[in-house]
Structures are given as C-alpha cells and as structure tokens.
C-alpha cells in the first residue's frame, strides 16, 4: 500500500475541490475536542485520493487507567490530606459561593478528578479552578469533613505545578477583584472581610440579600460583642508604611518582570 502525502494546495492552486476545515463534516462536532480528531488534509493511498474527510479518524475517548500516584501526591499535602474521605455527595458545590457565578467551578467534580488523577479533565478548568474565595461554607457543611475549601488550595498548587504554561496564558485575572484586594491591603494593611463580602454581593447583583436576616444578625452580633469596633480601633498594622513600601516595591518588580517577559 502506497501511502502518499503531498502538498495538494500547491497542485490545486488553480481551483479544484474546496478544502474543508478539520472535522467539519462530523455531525456532533461540538462534542469532540480538536485534539481528538485526526485528519490528513492531503492523503493518497494506493493512488486513491482520500484527502480531508475521507481519512477522518476520532481518537477513542475511553480512559484506560486511573492515575493513583496523583492521588498519593495530593494526599501528602496538608491542604489535600483528606482527599480520601470524599464520597461525592455534592454538598460543597451546592453550598458554594462561587458556583452560581462561574458554573464551571465545581469543587466536587474537581475533587473527583483529583482522586482519579484525571489531569486531562482538570486541564479544561484551569481558567476557573482558582476562583475559590475561601468562604469555607463547604467545609462547614461537608458531611465527611473533607475540607473542600482547602482542597481547592491544593488544586491550585497542583495546576500551577503541572500546567505552568496554561496558567500563564489561560488564567485571566479578574481585574475588579484584584483591585478590591490590592486597594484594601495597600490602603489599610488588612483584609476587611465585611467589605469583601459586600463587594462580592454587589458584583453578583445580590444587593437585596445584603439586608437579609443573616447579614443583619451578623452586624448586630458583631456590634454587640465589640468585634465591629475593635476592627476600627485596630487601625493599620505596626510600622505599616515600611511594609507597604516593601509590598509596592515587590509589585513593581513583578510588573517589570512580567512586562519584560511579554516583551513590552
């Protein structure tokens, strides 16, 4: 069998069959990832032209193994040490603050992918996997005390380790959130959780809930036990101006490096 690949585009430059996009004729194209479609644009077998759609091949999507070494790796970390407890009930995702905003952020599914070492699947969620805001609702409600909030931390570290390139290119910073955090740290030297909560709720358009019973009760409770005022009295951390300078220096330096790398 003579297998022949040749540059058909050059030969047919004067006209001939229009060349289709890779996998274009597959009916349920949206279900198949690009990498899984093998298609030679120009291919001749035994003198028969089987270019394009005539040689399309879809790589099997069946997983052939579970990667347990990955599970072991996660289990050794402090944040991920309870990964073996998870039984996939979904209480974490159901409680999650972030999931209603980013539907693809799903702690339960991420923990499952980590348990099975399915990096291929995890890779698809690099852009959202860092979205945990650390409200710990999931950890409080988890029936098995998996501590999903910290599991998300373990996940972030794993992603950073295994997919450094993707993290650089795909991870988009939410500039608004970044600004809220930065302003708070540089301006006041502390994270004000009440303010963070308020901005998050405003951002998601849930302003009505800001005046809900839980919020009112919390405010009342914090005013009553004095926490609300002690925060005001705390002021900025000791010698804040020097720390602030150091942080600003670091951020400047970081920016220069990043800009340098990007060739700006």
């Amino acid at each position: 069998m003579a297998l022949e690949k040749h540059d058909k585009d050059k030969e047919n430059s004067g006209g001939g069959r229009p060349v289709a996009e890779k996998g274009e004729h597959i009916v349920a194209r949206h279900l198949i990832e690009d990498d899984n479609i093998k298609e030679e644009k120009n291919l001749v077998i035994d003198g028969v032209d089987v270019s394009g759609r005539w040689n399309t091949f879809i790589i099997s999507r069946v997983d052939s193994d579970f990667d347990r070494s990955f599970f072991e790796e996660i289990k050794k970390t402090v944040a991920g040490s309870r990964i073996n407890r998870c039984w996939q009930c979904g209480m974490c995702t159901a409680s999650c603050t972030v999931t209603p905003l980013y539907r693809r952020f799903n702690p339960r599914a991420f923990i499952y992918m980590m348990q099975l070492g399915n990096l291929k699947e995890l890779k698809k969620y690099i852009d959202v996997a860092w979205r945990c805001v650390g409200c710990y609702k999931c950890s409080q409600r988890c029936p098995k005390q998996v501590n999903p909030a910290e599991m998300m931390e373990a996940l972030a570290l794993v992603i950073k380790k295994y997919f450094p390139e993707e993290v650089k290119t795909k991870l988009k910073l939410d500039e608004e959130v970044k600004k809220i955090y930065e302003d708070m740290i540089i301006g006041h030297g502390r994270l004000d959780l009440a303010k963070l909560h308020t901005s998050a709720m405003q951002k998601s358009g849930r302003t009505k809930e800001l005046l809900g019973k839980i919020e009112r009760d919390t405010i009342f409770k914090m005013a009553k036990d004095g926490r609300a005022f002690s925060i005001l009295r705390l002021g900025k951390p000791h010698n804040w101006s020097r720390s602030k300078e150091a942080i600003e220096n670091y951020l400047r330096k970081l920016n220069t490096i990043e800009n340098g790398e990007a060739g700006v």
Binding site: G90, M91, T93, A94, R103, R141, C142, K144
Partner: protein
C-alpha cells in the same frame, strides 16, 4: 412460682417481648414512660407500614391489644425505673409512677427503650421550624395519619414536593455517622402514598444513595415505575424562602454537574434515628454499655445482638441501633426467649 421479668419500653420490641413472655406464663412488668403503649409508631401516628403498606394499626394495635388484655402483664404507664440494683443473679428495681413507687425483684430484664427521631432543627441549613412548609417524615406521617395532607403555611394542597434523604444521618457535621436504615424506604413509601392520593402533586427525591435494602427495593422500583417519582442525585445544602410562598432547595445535580435552586411547595426531610437521651440514661442506671453512636451496645453484634454486656439484662429493638419495625418485633421475641432462659436457669 412463676418468673418475674421486667420489660422497659412499650414500643414494638417491648410489646412483643411482653406478650411472648406472658404466653409462657411469666409475670411481666411493662414500664412505659408515656401514658399509652405503642412507642414512636403510636406517638407519631404512623399510618401505613412498609413494605406491604398494611395499616400500622394491624401491627401496633394488635400488639397493644394483646398486651393490655394479657393477664400476666402489668403495665405501668407514665412511669420509669428510678433505681436498679443487682441482687445476686436477680435484680431489684424501683418503678416510679404517678401512683407512687414500687420495689420489686426480677429474674431478668429486657431493655427496649427505642430511639428518638433526629430533630432537623439541629441542622440549621435545612431551615426546619423556620419555614412552615419544611417538615420531616414523622410530621408527614402524622399528617397522612390524620388525613390532613396540606401545606402548613396556607392549608392548601401542595403541587410540588421534595424529599431530602440523609438528614441527620451519615453526616459528621451533625455528629451522626451512621445510616439510619429506614428513612430511604419510608420516604419512598410516603412518595408513593402521596402520588396515590394526590396525583397532581409531583414528587422529587434528592438522594446521595438510595438504601432500600433487601426486598424494600421493590418499593423504590414501584415509586419510579408506577408513580413517576423523580429521583435527583445530590444532597441539599440550603433551604431558603422563594417567590410565591415557596421554599427553595439549593443543591448540586452531581450527575449533570450543575448547581440548582429550585422552588417547592413543601419539603420533607428524611430525618434519621438517634439513641435519644434515654439511651445514656438507661445505660448509667442499669450499668450497661453505650456505643460510640449513642445507642446501647450489644455484647456481640453478630452472635448475640440482643444481649447486653451485663448477664441477665437483654436488649431489643431500636435501642441498639436504627431498625425497621419488623426487626424490632423479631428482636423482642429473641430477647424474650433469652430472658426466659436466664430466669429459669437461675430460679
């Protein structure tokens, strides 16, 4: 001279034990804390029992009738064992009731103090007692028993009802790690009843696992195949109030990988079983062991699940763990046999 045996608790297990001993000619003292016999099934007016949907009265009513008419059984209503001492191989017990205290010597003792329904208010995320339309299986059982199946908030029949499984069970967060065994079957049974009597009302069951063990599986199949009960995989994390006087279940469909917030007219929580305050109380009073789940501990869970660690003191029913009524009745008989043998041997 015939034997004297003390039975503590007048639920299915205690009743059956008392009835069987009475038939053997034993003098039975049946101590019941409530003013009526029948235990939790009577207290919460269970109407139909799984798996064959027979009226609860056929079972519990029958046992009560036998116990109350049996000549050898003396029932102490609204009473308790206030003092308990070993006396050689026998036991001296003080039975305290409204009419005063009575000290008697018994040859052996059967403990059948049963369980308590988990109080869902302890798990705040389910908003039980906060919203009128969030009820639990025992409330629904009572509603059905009283022929009063309506939304507590407005008295109208519901059109869409959610059942939430594993409330107060299999949850470290509330402190109960065990499965309560019967709540799945009870919920499925109630969903069938509801669909039978109110075909306009949709039923959804939110589950993590459906544990309708053994032949109870038939009910689960029936609920889906004959009554179109829809099951959804995922535990509910929050119940909030919704528009038009609804209650919203917030959860994750773990099969479809997506969060949902769905309004329902009524939510039924499948609250589990607990040892209740009576288990540690009886454990310290009688000097028998308590297990890590808050129930009484059998001497050997497999070989002698009806024996306590103290010779002469026997256990029956849900005081040793969550149990179906049929199991309790079986254990009542087993404990009766053992208590009788012990009494005869040490006559």
């Amino acid at each position: 001279m015939s034997e004297n045996i003390l039975v503590i608790g007048g639920g299915p297990a205690g009743l059956n034990a008392a009835v069987m001993l009475s038939e053997l000619g034993v003098n039975v003292a049946l101590v019941e804390r409530d003013s009526f016999l029948g235990g939790n099934p009577k207290k919460f007016k269970y109407k139909f029992l799984f798996p064959d949907m027979q009226p609860a009265d056929n079972v519990i009513g029958e046992l009560i009738k036998k116990a109350e008419s049996g000549g050898n059984i003396k029932v102490y209503y609204s009473s308790e064992v206030s003092d308990f001492k070993e006396n050689g191989k026998k036991f001296d017990a003080v039975i305290k009731s409204a009419s005063g205290s009575e000290t008697k010597t018994f040859d052996s003792v059967i403990v059948a103090t049963g369980f308590e329904h988990f109080d869902p208010a302890r798990d705040a995320k389910y908003s039980y007692q906060l919203f009128d339309d969030v009820i639990d299986i025992k409330d629904l059982e009572r509603m059905m028993g009283e022929n009063n199946f309506v939304r507590p908030s407005n008295g109208k029949p519901p059109k869409k009802v959610a059942f939430i499984l594993c409330v107060g069970s299999r949850d470290r967060h509330v402190g109960n790690q065990y499965c309560s065994r019967v709540c799945c079957t009870v919920s499925v049974k109630q969903a069938i009843e509801m669909r039978e009597h109110f075909p306009d009302c949709e039923a959804y069951i939110f589950y993590m696992d459906i544990r309708t063990y053994g032949f109870f599986e038939d009910l689960y199949w029936k609920a889906m195949e004959e009554h179109d009960v829809q099951i959804v995989k995922g535990r509910i994390a929050e119940i909030t109030s919704g528009p038009d006087n609804t209650v919203v279940c917030k959860g994750e469909d773990t099969l479809l990988r997506g969060p949902f917030e769905i309004p329902f007219d009524m939510v039924v929580l499948a609250s589990g079983m607990e040892g209740g305050p009576q288990s540690p109380e009886i454990s310290s009073k009688l000097g028998i062991e308590l297990d890590e789940h808050g129930f009484l501990k059998p001497e050997n869970v497999t070989l002698s699940p009806f024996k306590s660690n103290k010779p002469g003191v026997f256990l029956a029913g849900a005081c040793t763990g969550p149990k179906a009524i049929s199991d309790s009745i079986t254990e009542g008989a087993a404990a009766a046999m053992n208590a009788y043998t012990y009494a005869v041997k040490n006559r």
